[in-house]
């Protein structure tokens, strides 16, 4: 049985279509990543699946229950961590955790084993007000609160947005361990490099799924040689690269430009030669392996 299913979900806010027919299935214990930029429809999808929002069309189930008819059942079984920190800032760390445990008719003690790994990081500060925690600690507390009732499905809406790189890494490590508890995890993120940890990912753009695959398959389906180009005056360089006839696509990518070519027979020396002709200096081109983001860019073109 699938843990989460969605069938042709649609929703719009006024004239803006946030979801245009989204379908997918997630198996029990799977970690499913939703990858897409801001405004792609990730949060709307989460809100529908957590019974906070009614879809205009389509249906969905969570843990075998319909999100409209059996919303009460679902509310007892899912953990939801919204993108915005939404715990009580004026209650202490421990009080927040205790509060959410009580709402689900359980106690911290009963499910301590589930959150132990995460909670022990913040336990030394358990009398501190939640509002006074750092960003990374807030995320850990929010995750603990979402887990305290032993949910069978965990929804995490951009859990690592606004968190420093070290905490982000730590956070994904925790998720990996949670997966071993047979909890289905649906997680969204705009950081595509993080998605590699997921079992399967869905690339979402403008309310539509472009592809649902394992990260490895998505990358291997890229099918083109990819080159990283650096040189002096990077912004001019990007224009110059794009003007070249042999180039199929070029994107700024951190401190380098990622470039694909129309003809698979050509390679980095051809790019170099073309750029030198245009008078660019200090050029360095190398062939690299594609990442998820490259696939995303290629798909969303």
């Amino acid at each position: 049985m699938y843990s989460v299913t969605a069938d042709n979900l649609e929703i719009s806010y006024g004239t803006v279509k946030a979801l245009r027919g989204v379908s997918f299935q997630v198996s029990r214990g799977e970690m499913f990543g939703l990858i897409g930029p801001d405004g792609a429809g990730k949060t709307s999808l989460f809100r529908i699946l957590t019974t906070l929002l009614l879809a205009d069309a389509g249906s969905a189930t969570v843990d075998g229950f319909d999100v409209v008819k059996d919303y009460k059942e679902i509310r007892g079984r899912v953990g939801y961590m919204p993108g915005k920190f939404s715990l009580y800032q004026d209650l202490s760390v421990e009080e927040n955790l205790e509060f959410f445990a009580t709402l689900f008719n359980t106690t911290i003690k009963e499910n301590y084993h589930l959150i132990k790994d995460i909670y022990r990081h913040i336990e030394p500060f358990k009398t501190r007000k939640a509002g006074a925690l750092s960003g990374g600690m807030k995320q850990k507390l929010a995750l603990s609160c979402a887990l305290i009732h032993k949910p069978s499905v965990l929804f995490l809406d951009e859990p690592t947005t606004g968190v420093d790189p070290v905490s982000r890494k730590e956070f994904w490590e925790m998720l990996k361990r949670l997966k071993q508890q047979n909890i289905t995890i649906i997680v969204s993120t705009p950081y595509m490099d993080e998605a590699i940890i997921c079992d399967r990912i869905a690339l979402i753009n403008e309310g539509k799924f472009m592809q649902i695959e394992t990260p490895q398959n998505i990358i291997s389906a890229f099918g083109k040689k990819l080159f990283a180009v650096t040189g002096d005056n990077m912004s001019r360089l990007l224009n110059d690269v794009r003007e070249m006839d042999i180039v199929s696509s070029a994107f700024a990518f951190g401190d380098e430009h990622h470039v694909t070519l129309r003809n698979p027979m050509l390679d980095h020396t051809d790019i170099e030669a073309g750029l030198l002709e245009k008078g660019c200096s200090n050029i360095f081109v190398k062939e690299i392996n594609a990442g998820i983001e490259d696939c995303y860019m290629a798909l969303s073109q």
């Binding site: 899912v78 939801y80 709402l103």
Partner: protein
């Protein structure tokens, strides 16, 4: 579950730096200060007397006026123009002109004319001042008549239920209505909107806690606070103003709880339609002003124009202020208040069902 949620609400209130002080300080201030400030008794009216008669009788009249507690004799001058100047400067509120030949015509013909001119920028002061002045003058003429022959009808007004016409006694029960409206209607609604704004309501919504339980847990603490504060207000009324409810305390609290139910429902409706505190505050402020000004709190409903009186029919505060004044001053029982009570019950049903329906819609 409900008990736990209520405990949590009290924790929030206690932790808030501002709220507990507001809840205690605001009603006490209101009860101690406002009855004195919001007072329509007019006192210390400055009168400029223009005495053009220079007779014994005119002098006596001026004396009588200055002896009254309501009036200060600010100046006695010869010409009306001089007196008008003092009115311009604000040194006088009312001019009394005693014309030449006042004594003569009074003695000869048994009557005389005087002129009263009042600064009507402050309408109440002018109106009440002139009325007082007229009554002093007619008093005076009666005295004169007594010395000769008694004539005419003497009117002895008797003010029932508030014999001294003490405006404070009139204000105290009405101020309690404002207290209840703010504490039980607006505070819980703002609290709910703030949970919306912070996003915590989402987190609660994905738990098995029902919306009804959630809202009840928001209301009950403020209901409790409201009744504690109401009791404090009753005690202040007793200690400072010597006013106790003439009717039974049971009627008083019973009807207060009906009103609390009305304003809570009203607050919930506002909270359902507001997404931010700012929005909710503004809407509440708007309604609070209308409710207060159109409730008869300061000015009697009967003296409003007909169309305004019709609007007041839709103001729940109006009914409860009537109830409070009747219970407090008149000692009315439930049977004398059926009209007001049924109006309040109607509002309670209306607002609360509206609140429930609009809540569903926004799901």
């Amino acid at each position: 579950m409900l008990k736990y949620l209520i405990e949590k609400e009290f924790k929030h209130i206690r932790r808030n730096k501002f709220l507990p002080r507001l809840i205690l300080f605001f009603p006490t201030m209101m009860m101690i200060v406002l009855p004195w400030a919001a007072n329509l008794d007019v006192k210390d009216i400055d009168v400029a007397v223009v005495n053009r008669d220079h007779s014994q009788l005119s002098g006596k009249l001026a004396e009588k006026i200055s002896a009254s507690a309501y009036f200060n004799l600010s100046s006695v001058s010869e010409s009306y123009n001089n007196a008008l100047k003092t009115l311009d400067k604000g040194d006088a509120d009312i001019i009394l002109e005693i014309p030449e030949g006042f004594e003569k015509s009074l003695v000869k013909e048994g009557n005389a004319k005087v002129l009263i001119a009042a600064n009507a920028v402050n309408g109440t002061k002018a109106g009440m001042g002139s009325a007082y002045l007229v009554s002093i003058i007619s008093d005076y003429s009666r005295e004169l008549n007594n010395q000769t022959i008694t004539r005419g009808i003497e009117i002895v007004p008797q003010n029932r239920y508030n014999p001294a016409m003490d405006y404070k006694k009139f204000m105290v029960p009405a101020l309690m209505v404002m207290l209840l409206t703010i504490l039980c209607g607006f505070l819980p609604a703002l609290n709910i909107v703030s949970e919306k704004e912070i996003g915590t309501i989402e987190q609660i919504n994905v738990t098995p806690v029902g919306k009804f339980t959630f809202i009840l847990a928001k209301l009950i603490p403020y209901w409790l606070i409201g009744f504690v504060v109401l009791t404090i207000a009753v005690i202040i009324g007793r200690v400072i103003y010597g006013i106790t409810p003439q009717g039974s305390l049971f009627t008083f609290y019973l009807l207060a709880s009906v009103f609390v139910f009305v304003v809570s429902g009203f607050g919930l409706v506002i909270s359902n339609y507001s997404n931010t505190m700012q929005q909710a505050m503004f809407v509440m402020f708007f309604f609070m002003l209308i409710f207060i000004l159109m409730s008869g709190l300061f000015t009697p409903v009967e003296s409003m124009p007909k169309w305004a009186q019709i609007i007041t029919l839709f103001n729940p505060m109006k009914y409860f202020i009537e109830i409070m004044r009747m219970v407090y001053l008149k000692g009315s029982g439930l049977d004398a208040l059926t009209r007001q009570i049924s109006a309040l019950l109607g509002f309670a049903v209306l607002f609360n069902s509206w609140a429930v329906l609009s809540y569903r819609k926004s799901r």
